[in-house]
Amino acid sequence: MPIVIDPKICREGCTICDYFCPGDIIYRISPKESPVVKYQDECWYCGICADNCPVDAITIVFPENMVNCQTDVRTLMGLPAQNVSRS
């Protein structure tokens, strides 16, 4: 889960993250329930939601393949992968 919203901290009635998220990822349907991260795999990891949350209820958690990326960079340039991972 890339975006973690702490329901204990989230402020009732606030909709900032829902409106500010540029990707339509976060939905606050009801003012009483905390927002839902509806399309996690479409997140930009911009941090705009966390940055603008008035009570710091949002944490950005980078998934393993971002933090500890093992992709062979050569494959991003149309070159064949090397057998040994270089990272």
């Binding site: 479409e42 911009c46 705009i48 980078f62 393949n65 992709t71 340039m77």
Partner: protein, 582 residues
Amino acid sequence: MASLATNLEAQKEPIHVLETDVVIVGGGVAGCLAALGTTEVGARVVICDKCGLLERAGSVGGGTDHFTAVLEEGPEWDTPEYLMSYMPALLEGVADIEAVERLVQGLKPMVHLLEKLGVDFHDPENPDIPYYRHRAFGMPGAYTINFDGTNFKHIIGRSARRAGAKVLERTMVSDLLMVEGRPRGAVAFHIRTGDVYVILGQAVVIATGDANRLGKNASGHAFDSWHFPYNAGEGRAMALRAGARLANMEFVDSTLSPKGYSTQGLNAFVGGGAHFINALGERFMFKYHPDAERGRRSDIINGFITETREGRGPIYCDCTHLPEDEIRRLVNTLGVDRPALPDFFAQKKIDLTKEPFEVCVTEIASVRGGQPFRGSGVHIDKDACSSTPGIFAGGDCSTTSSGIAGATVMGHIAGMNAAHFALSQPKAKPLTSNEKDQIREMLYRPLRLREGISFHAFEDQVRSIVTDYVGYRREEIRMREGLKMLRTLRSQEDRIKAEDYHGVMRVNEARSIRINAEALAVSAIERKETRDGAAHLRLDYPKTDNENELRIIMVEQIGGELRAISRPTGLNPTPPPKKDIS
């Protein structure tokens, strides 16, 4: 399971018809200034954006920190004429120079207009100077204004709203309405409720930004992109369908980024004094540009690619030689453009003072081939008019652009000229109810499909083809193979399925991504040379060919197929005598 017919019956999304003069597609930087331009002329305007709030919509909704401008404050370099004397050399002889000149002339008045709207161009670290300016890499003067642009987008969005623009948020434009080769408005829908909008107007401004999600990245998350992943080149796709031309599509953009996270930050690192080193521990960038890390971005990418291809990767970014204070300052500024970047380093547990970190080239994007002032996309003239009368464009979807500065100036010009055009035309005719029903049916077909493929699966195929066949390993045979595959993929477009209205938005984006990729391939095949470092890197034509290739390559859609045409630029790319632009 409900039959197709009952599904259709059950879902009769309401259709709202709006009448206006100018429809603006995209409410980012260019779109907001276009709205202001339109209202100044006295025309009515509707502006649509997919984002939730106009004041936050687009690439710089999270904030911005620099604006490039000529201000005529006194120094020799600070005039439009001086900058223009370098322009053919800066743009390597490939640009629409009249349009570029219009942009450059418009910078100073734009700074003043933005100040009137409430933008404060003071640098927080240098509050006593009206404009804190520095020289960006490769530029012949200190044109870059550093400022705290946290509220920049908020201010221009609010101004557009206050000027009387009708704003439709969370509303995606799916296509333009055309009649006898002229715009009649646009079709849009609400990405949450599904309400359909038929917006009738006599002129259109396309301001949909750049095209992303085009190539593979290191993390494998499609939306982990250096630029704004929700700009998928839709305006360019609409322009092609409406008969307008694209240009400069062969040039691609990318940057170097911490491996696994495609993000802004390169400028901050190299500006702060970081070095790139290869697996042998060599500081190698001097081989690719005399200013090494401070060279043009496309040369830096070229250096990265060549070192990796020749077996000297991985490549690292090294800050360990910098004073601790400088590193701390650096880390603090990283969050300005990308608030989550400091979190990334924290989660990676990287201490910049102690160890270098691995960097990686980001995915391929289509913005402006790493150049200021020249863009890729809808081909516009100095009046921001496309090759189809009534369709105007501004910002990163178009061929004359340059960050927020270019988007404001050309967006504003597009808005004003669209207004003049619209007011000179008879009002757009209303649609029959039959036509409206057809529009809804076409729009929501992906929702009514019982079987199909996901937009993710479709896009992954495009990204693989772009990366493997037309990305950084450009050779005639491979590119032709890639182009064939991209054309074959078109037949799958009708099978991309959506689960909800948000998903319909992604289906439309996926289709635009494919056509942007096709335009890229067609243009890259046509340009038989290497130009602008990694922006157009051909293995079979490794040299720049100023004899034959000083031309603008354009793409148009004829009978469903894209084809390239070109015209000479007539520019001389040699720098003016005795002036050093490196």
